[in-house]
Symmetry: C2
Subunit: 203 residues, 2 copies
């Protein structure tokens, strides 16, 4: 009996699923408690009971996916030992972010946080682990490379994350993802050519 | 008599000034017709009479500044003959964008356009001249350089504009501009070192 119960998604999980799905499909402006409740076929009072409010459930639904994505990024990129790997694997990870809705939901919440101070602070808090992760990754590739004198890993991480958020926002606007793939192709070609500049990690 | 009248800003200009100022100061969510009218001390009906609606006046106020900025970018960057100049001048232009409110207003409208389909199409239309300008600029530096084989000017322009929009959005979120200056310092150092790779334009 207990086993069977454990396999049914909890109410909390059902609310998180519906919130993520609604935000992804309809965008922030159309994601009301009512819209989320309609997506999940439950009473909208449950959202307030379990999460307090709409922004809270949206952030919680982002967090659930972000934690999984961070784990995946760590796992996959731990295996990258040269710039070519890095370019190839980062492209795969980015396309997974698009596929699973993480990229869209991030773009929606970043865009919305421009007008919602409470959301803004929460989104900035959520940037930090990604800045730290990206910075450590860049630093790993810089150590022992002549590029280390040129590139500050913290600033480079900020620039890359800004690009990630900007690309997400612009892709959400026009929906043309083929151009992102082309950007990665370009990064690939650059990585192959610039690999000799990367000391310890060069192929 | 006619001369004196010409020096007084037209009603249209007063409305555009007030719209830009309100959007810059208060953000998109708080920029109602009422708020714009309060900033400019005029009757809010004038906004609808002259522009049709709030989004229309906001776009028109962006356009007025964007046209000036595009002219300035063209003029200043026409004089850039090597990557070091390019890095230094682009940094100055970006700081001017921040100073005059262009960066903030762009970030606000891009963020808002994620939730407003009508605004979205208008903002995408407004990206095009900047993509074309950036692409032509990159192409000018690539011609005759060994990097031309690696870098597609159109994709690179897309990546740079995505970074511009992302940086604006993130800066608007936490207001820490010192980090953007650090990113430009890094680009400066990279330009100095990579200059020998740039064929015709190298110092």
């Amino acid at each position: 009996m207990l086993k069977a119960v454990a396999q049914i998604p909890s109410t909390r999980d059902r609310i998180l699923d519906a919130a993520f799905e609604t935000l992804r499909r309809d965008g922030f402006a159309r994601t009301s408690a009512r819209a989320i409740a309609r997506t999940g076929a439950f009473n909208q009072a449950l959202i307030f009971y379990h999460f307090g409010g709409v922004n809270d459930v949206l952030l919680a639904s982002l967090d659930r996916v972000s934690v999984q994505r961070m784990e995946r990024y760590r796992e996959v990129l731990a295996g990258a030992t040269n710039p070519n790997d890095l370019a190839r694997l980062t492209r795969e990870l980015y396309l997974e972010d698009v596929e699973c809705g993480h990229a869209t939901v991030l773009a929606e919440l970043f865009a919305a946080s421009s007008s919602h101070p409470g959301l803004r602070d929460e989104m900035l808090k959520r940037m930090r682990p990604w800045v730290d992760f990206t910075e450590a990754l860049i630093q790993r590739f810089l150590d022992g490379s002549p590029l280390a004198a040129l590139i500050n890993a913290h600033d480079a991480a900020g620039a890359l994350l800004a690009m990630y958020v900007g690309v997400d926002l612009l892709m959400n606007l026009d929906g043309d993802r083929s151009r992102v793939v082309e950007m990665f192709d370009m990064a690939d070609r650059a990585a192959v050519t610039l690999a000799p500049l990367m000391g310890g990690y060069a192929t």
